[in-house]
């Protein structure tokens, strides 16, 4: 072998060693990065689920408010309450001799709002699908599969060499090459995830814009749901159709007290004192809920901001702060269940 061929062989060997080394190094970095990507995908999926529930809560709440108003209006129009200054209407309502015909609900406006709310829910669903795709890519074991594939090629090559009377390639070569190829596959996977992260972050910015632009309308729709529930409850309560017994029971339960077993009281608004107390309680609760909805909606925007920040960190290889996302998602939970009217 002349000097030139020895030098060529040495260069080839060095190149091979370098490729294997780069592959193994890339594999180590990629597995950490893929773990982070998986965690980010889980956080994004959980956030999406809560955002879907929140959007569905507003949608369901709006439909419920329309239904409730269809009950409230005729209930109030069919009778005239007693003069001001009393709380309880029980046995004191004067029927209206000739009730006015009920105006139909403005169905075109309602349909338009329902359509807008459904579109907002579908936007959250689209976010969920995107994170499902992200998680599938992050959790796909390309590295393991490629390593196994390369290992399989070496095994097959050895089988072929045996038929030609050649000695087998040492198994160490196969496993190192497999690990190196797997590392390079993992590296390629991370590169794809980083590119996808930029795209998702851009889409999240668009999602955020949609949330901000719809803030006034959505918060108003939520306040309408709360107000309708309050108005109908008060109307039924003051007319004696509801009992305060469950409320008293729950207060007793938390303080270790109970309603007397032999108490025959119905706990309706017929009791003027109880009537006023329950009314004050319902008003306070309504005011507190109305004050909370804008804050809760802001939590949705903050959650999207936290996801955008996490994607930025992922792209620049910084540690991810997913605790913030988790904390916001927990807050979204109370928001979503509050308005849907579903247990």
């Amino acid at each position: 072998m002349d000097t030139r061929s020895r030098s060529g062989a040495a260069t080839r060997n060095l190149s091979g060693v370098l490729i294997v080394a780069v592959g193994l190094l890339a594999g180590g970095c990629a597995s950490t990065k893929l773990g982070a990507a998986g965690d980010l995908g889980d956080a994004g999926s959980r956030s999406s689920a809560k955002l879907i529930a929140a959007a569905a809560g507003v949608e369901d709440g709006f439909a419920r408010a329309i239904d409730q108003d269809a009950l409230l209006q005729p209930l109030q129009d069919s009778t005239v309450p007693p003069p001001p200054g009393v709380c309880s209407f029980v046995g004191r309502l004067t029927p209206v001799a000739t009730p006015l015909p009920a105006a139909g609900p403005p169905s075109a406006a309602i349909a338009r709002i329902e359509q807008a709310l459904a579109a907002r829910r579908m936007l959250a669903v689209a976010l969920g699908k995107t994170y499902a795709g992200w998680t599938a890519l992050a959790r796909y074991d390309a590295s393991g599969q490629v390593s196994a594939g390369v290992g399989g090629v070496f095994d097959a090559a050895n089988a072929l060499r045996r038929t030609e009377g050649l000695g087998p390639i040492p198994s160490a070569v196969g496993s190192i090459a497999g690990a190196a190829a797997g590392g390079l596959a993992g590296h390629a996977q991370v590169a794809k995830l980083k590119a996808a992260s930029v795209q998702i972050r851009t889409a999240l910015a668009g999602y955020r814009e949609a949330l901000v632009k719809g803030q006034g309308a959505t918060v108003s729709a939520m306040r309408n749901t709360i107000g309708e529930q309050y108005a109908l409850t008060i109307a039924l309560w003051q007319r004696g159709y509801l009992s305060a017994r469950p409320l008293v029971d729950s207060v007793g339960e938390t303080s270790g007290l109970g309603v007397p077993i032999d108490d025959k009281a119905t706990m309706t608004a017929a009791d003027e004192g109880l009537c006023s107390a329950v009314r004050a309680y319902l008003e306070t609760r309504r005011n507190s809920q109305e004050a909370r909805v804008a804050r809760d909606y802001q939590t949705q925007i903050d959650t999207v901001d936290a996801l955008i920040a996490a994607h930025k960190d992922f792209e620049k290889d910084a540690p991810l702060d997913l605790d913030m996302v988790a904390a916001l998602v927990d807050q979204l939970n109370t928001f979503a269940t509050g308005l849907s009217g579903k247990k």
């Binding site: 209407f89 403005p106 889409a203 632009k213 309408n224 108005a231």
Partner: protein, 110 residues
């Protein structure tokens, strides 16, 4: 943040006020004419509120549509990326099978 009330804020307040205080307003109505007017006012406030709410949602409709399209594009890219990776793995498995097959044929021929 701009605290100037929007048209929706104003109309919302009018609707909520008449709905939440409807019984009280009826208690104070002096005659059937006043009751009828109150009912008409309620219907008008409700219709105006829903109409204004619908218009307010319309203002964000374009951004909702764009956001959904962007998210779908991202989801499609991710699907394609995953498909690429799966294809690489599938090709390697195919190569392995082909080499094994050649080995078996060579063994038979030998």
């Amino acid at each position: 943040m701009d605290d100037t009330p929007t048209a929706l804020d104003v109309i919302e307040q009018a609707w909520f006020s008449i709905r939440n205080n409807y019984d009280r307003l009826r208690q104070a109505a002096p005659d059937t004419g006043a009751l009828a007017k109150l009912k008409t006012d309620r219907d008008t406030a409700k219709a105006a509120y829903l109409d204004t709410l619908g218009k307010a949602f319309d203002e964000s409709a374009a951004s909702v549509k764009k956001g959904k399209a962007d998210l779908k594009a991202a989801a499609d890219t991710l699907d394609a990326d995953l498909q690429d990776l799966q294809n690489i793995v599938a090709i390697l498995k195919l190569v392995s099978s082909v080499v094994t097959l050649i080995g078996k044929i060579a063994a038979l021929a030998g």
